[in-house]
């Protein structure tokens, strides 16, 4: 029950000024009111009211308390993972993540940096998933505050599992501005759970067959997974699904910003957006209420400027100039995180939708909260103790892959002509960490903290990921790390995907090199690039053609053999001729040339600790299917895919890639194909749940109240892959779509190595057979029946 203000209120506004969730409103001198939907019963208003006008939910009247005696959060820096949940929920700005003690210091924690701003609401302690924050008397030690917090918890009866809660979506038609509330049926929820899986199902159901990606009838699903916002590791990732601007098939894009978590707190698990607004508009969601507001003054602004003009305490999801101008690789940005791939920004731009914001304070549903809390602490400990997620990723981020990929000929160089660059170290993760890194950062709720914080001018910004380093580095023959950092920043603020942008530029450079078409850029010359990024985003001059992507350029100027894309989506920075399973993944990926949607088998072939015969097709079809399904399920749950990297045993990292045992496993794994195939087909019989295999399955079971096992979790991924494929087939994707450019399948990467090509045709046959798809890549009726997918 929320608090209440009686008629003895004199309208001094002390309660409203101190309320941490903006739940109190009123005019000075008149009686104030508490928004019951938003009140979190923290008691702050009662402590500051000079009149005793505040009544608690139980009818008691709290006493006024001096500010010096207000409770304060006390943080156990050993237990704290610096995931940022406490900092994010504190609207008073009293908390921050402490600065590192030295460059490369990864052991940082949250701290009460502005005690004068703290109102002692305790929201930070409530949201901390590992119990590292306790609220105690002002000046209490960690131990005292923790004991006090434990006593408070013990006084409450243990909660029983709350059963099942069905996701609630809002269907917003921008043309008429009508809002319908859609409750997902139990059968649908059990089958598709959430995230990109449920979104694909909804897209199939809502999008009229054959509607264009940029038509008013086009549908955009922005949704969360059941684990978003629960405090489980790396669970800020939310999803956006729509029709692919270039391929016309399914498109999905994932983002680590705070929007998804806040959307749940505002009362919705997802949004279904249709129609087209007449003029630039934005959607504002507060406590379940949805409003469409004009956004003329925001149109034309970059994503930083746009977000600064929106309500400070709202989570945001906005497009930049690239989205407004229909750049086919425009993304949508939340904070500094971007749903980059597939052109979602262009789709929102076509709907005149500049921004979405949301704010709410509803608790995120967790069915078995008590056991979930216990499991999350074990999971966080595991993540932090694993050499990959506890050491390698925090220390170097994904940027650390540059040198490893390069040593294995997996670094795309000169528009994927080569797989090795002798000067790649200049743009490596190690060089970045040694010379440019200011500190680590993280998506909210993530204990891995792989983000690189770097400087552009005087400004600290998000640094480049591996993909950006590779594709704005060796792939365009650039070794200027400062320039890559700036290009990354420019793409971010214009709202563009760095992978597709850099890939399209590399193709434009090769067209120029071959004398086909000169766009004013050439390999090894970074002089024009910053301006080119701006011109692409604004579609100025000939740069407007690069804004259409590699597939379009190849259709106009030729060069299909070296236009490095699959289904119109430019390939990520893993050279598939050095990891042929990744080549199969790129080709079969539902959204196109994406390493993650493709199963990311490069991790087991060329860039990880294992090396499963990188240039052999043996077992790669089965491995690709298994990994695609697994990652699909992790994504549907609402987790970052990095949280799945603990699947490789820690012992192998400790032995290292050169150890005889690691090498033996790598070689032997090439014969595991039939076993993996059996695993895929008989997944549901895997009843066990293990922290060491797929911790997401157990977390999902505890969070949703459904029975989820490792087997049913992987089957969820398989269903997801099939329902996405079903959409693409319905929209006209036919035989030949699962392809790679001939450079990768026919041209040897190294002249003397006959295996340095992707044997795609051979792997594709096995892949289709294992998937239960026909020769055109369409799911057969039998597999759809088994997975209970209605057509």
């Amino acid at each position: 029950m929320s608090y209440h203000i009686s008629d003895t209120c004199i309208g001094c506004s002390a309660c409203a000024l101190n309320c941490p969730v903006f739940a109190i409103d009123g005019a000075r001198g008149e009686r104030f009111h508490i928004n019951g939907k938003r009140c979190v019963s923290c008691g702050v208003c009662g402590r500051v009211c000079p009149q005793g006008a505040i009544t608690a939910g139980d009818g008691s009247v709290p006493e006024r308390v001096k500010k010096t005696e207000w409770p304060r959060p006390v943080i156990d820096s050993e237990a704290c993972t610096a995931c940022g949940l406490c900092r994010d929920i504190c609207t008073k700005g009293a908390l921050r993540i402490a600065a590192p003690k030295f460059r490369g210091d990864i052991h940082v924690a949250a701290e009460l940096s502005e005690p004068a701003k703290c109102v002692g609401c305790g929201l930070c302690a409530k949201i901390c998933p590992v119990g590292a924050v306790a609220v105690g008397d002002n000046g209490a030690s960690v131990a005292e505050a923790t004991v006090a917090a434990k006593k408070r918890k013990m006084a409450k009866p243990a909660g029983k599992p709350a059963g099942l809660r069905l996701p609630v979506y809002a269907h917003i038609d921008l043309s008429t501005f009508s809002v319908d509330i859609v409750e997902i049926s139990e059968a649908c929820f059990r089958k598709y759970i959430g995230g990109k899986t449920l979104a694909a199902r909804l897209l199939l159901d809502y999008l009229p067959r054959g509607a264009g990606a940029l038509d008013p009838a086009a549908v955009v699903i922005i949704n969360t997974g059941p684990l978003n916002g629960t405090g489980a590791p790396s669970t800020s990732r939310f999803n956006m699904t729509f029709k692919h601007v270039v391929s016309g098939g399914i498109a999905s894009s994932n983002c680590g910003g705070a929007f998804g978590m806040m959307l749940k707190r505002a009362g919705y698990d997802g949004l279904i957006i249709t129609g087209r607004a007449e003029a630039p508009s934005r959607i504002e969601i507060t406590d379940g209420d949805i409003r469409l507001l004009p956004a003329d003054e925001l149109w034309g602004l970059d994503v930083e400027e746009t977000q600064e003009k929106l309500p400070a305490h709202h989570a945001k999801f906005v497009i930049g100039p690239a989205g407004e101008n229909g750049v086919v690789y425009a993304g949508v940005v939340s904070g500094e995180r971007i749903a980059g791939r597939c052109g979602g920004g262009a789709v929102l731009g076509s709907k005149n939708l500049k921004a979405l914001t949301c704010y709410g304070t509803r608790p995120v549903f967790i069915s078995d909260r008590e056991n979930f809390g216990v499991f999350i602490r074990r999971w966080v400990d595991f993540v932090r103790s694993h050499p990959m997620t506890g050491e390698a990723l925090p220390r170097y981020g994904s940027a650390g892959l540059v040198n490893k990929a390069n040593t294995n000929f997996a670094m795309p160089t000169h528009n994927f002509k080569r797989g090795h660059d002798a000067e790649a170290d200049a743009v490596s993760g190690e060089t970045l960490a040694e010379t440019k890194l200011e500190r680590n950062g993280a998506c909210v709720s993530c204990p891995i903290r792989c983000e690189r914080r770097v400087k552009v001018g005087d400004r600290e910004v998000k640094g480049p990921e591996y993909e950006t380093l590779g594709l704005f580095g060796p792939n365009i023959e650039n070794r200027d790390l400062d320039l890559i950092i700036e290009l990354n920043y420019l793409c971010d603020i214009y709202g563009m995907d760095t992978i597709s942008c850099a890939g399209s530029i590399a193709f434009a450079m090769e067209l120029a090199e071959r004398g086909v078409k000169d766009f004013g850029v050439k390999f090894g010359d970074g002089g024009e690039l910053k301006d080119l990024i701006r011109r692409i985003a604004l579609r100025e001059g000939e740069a407007a053609e690069i804004a259409n992507g590699s597939k379009w350029l190849a259709a106009k100027y030729g060069g299909e053999d070296y236009a490095i894309h699959s289904k119109g989506l430019e390939l990520a920075a893993y050279e598939p001729r050095a990891s042929v399973g990744m080549g199969l993944g790129y080709a079969t990926s539902n959204r196109g040339g994406c390493h993650l949607n493709g199963g990311y088998t490069a991790l087991f072939e060329s860039v990880g600790v294992l090396s499963i015969v990188p240039q052999s097709p043996r077992s790669k079809a089965a491995l690709t299917v298994f990994m695609q399904d697994s990652l699909e399920a992790v994504s549907a749950a609402g987790c970052c895919l990095f949280s799945a990297q603990t699947i490789v045993p820690a012992a192998l990292y400790r032995l290292g890639p050169n150890h005889a045992v690691t090498r033996f496993i790598g070689k032997a794994a090439a014969s595991f194909g039939p076993v993996i195939q059996l695993l895929v087909k008989a997944a549901p019989v895997l009843k066990l749940n293990s922290l060491y295999l797929m911790p997401h399955a157990e977390a999902l079971a505890l969070a949703t109240g459904m029975k989820v096992t490792t087997g049913s979790f992987i089957e969820l991924g398989e269903r997801s892959y099939n329902v996405e494929r079903l959409f693409s087939v319905r929209e006209g994707q036919g035989a030949g779509a699962d392809s790679l450019p001939r450079r990768l399948t026919d041209e040897r990467q190294r002249a003397g190595d006959k295996h340095s090509v992707v044997p795609l045709a051979k792997m594709l046959r096995s892949y289709y057979r294992i998937r239960g798809w026909d020769e055109s890549g369409a799911p057969k009726a039998r597999i759809l029946r088994r997975l209970k997918i209605e057509t």
């Binding site: 000929f409 990311y600 050169n658």
Partner: protein, 84 residues
């Protein structure tokens, strides 16, 4: 013996107290022996478990620890990384 340049990265650089040195070695195994003799068993274990490259090519693409070295070769010890 050939004179080769050895480059240390990550924790290994901290353990051995330098980022680069020139040492005599005819193979990658010789380099590891040198590390063991000069910097101790812990440094040796760390080095063995890292990504090792000769002239920027991973030793798994060559003859692993038996990879022969010549004058002027560069041996790098790189951290294992992750991402996606």
């Amino acid at each position: 013996m050939s004179k080769v340049t050895v480059k240390y990265r990550s924790g290994l650089a901290e353990t051995v107290g330098k980022t680069e040195e020139i040492i005599p070695a005819d193979s990658v195994a010789d380099v590891l022996k040198y590390i063991k003799a000069n910097y101790g068993r812990d440094a040796y274990r760390t080095a063995r478990a890292m990504v090792i490259a000769v002239n920027e090519v991973g030793i798994l693409k060559l003859r692993v620890f038996k990879t022969a070295l010549e004058d002027g070769d560069v041996v790098q010890f790189l951290p294992i990384a992750g991402g996606g």
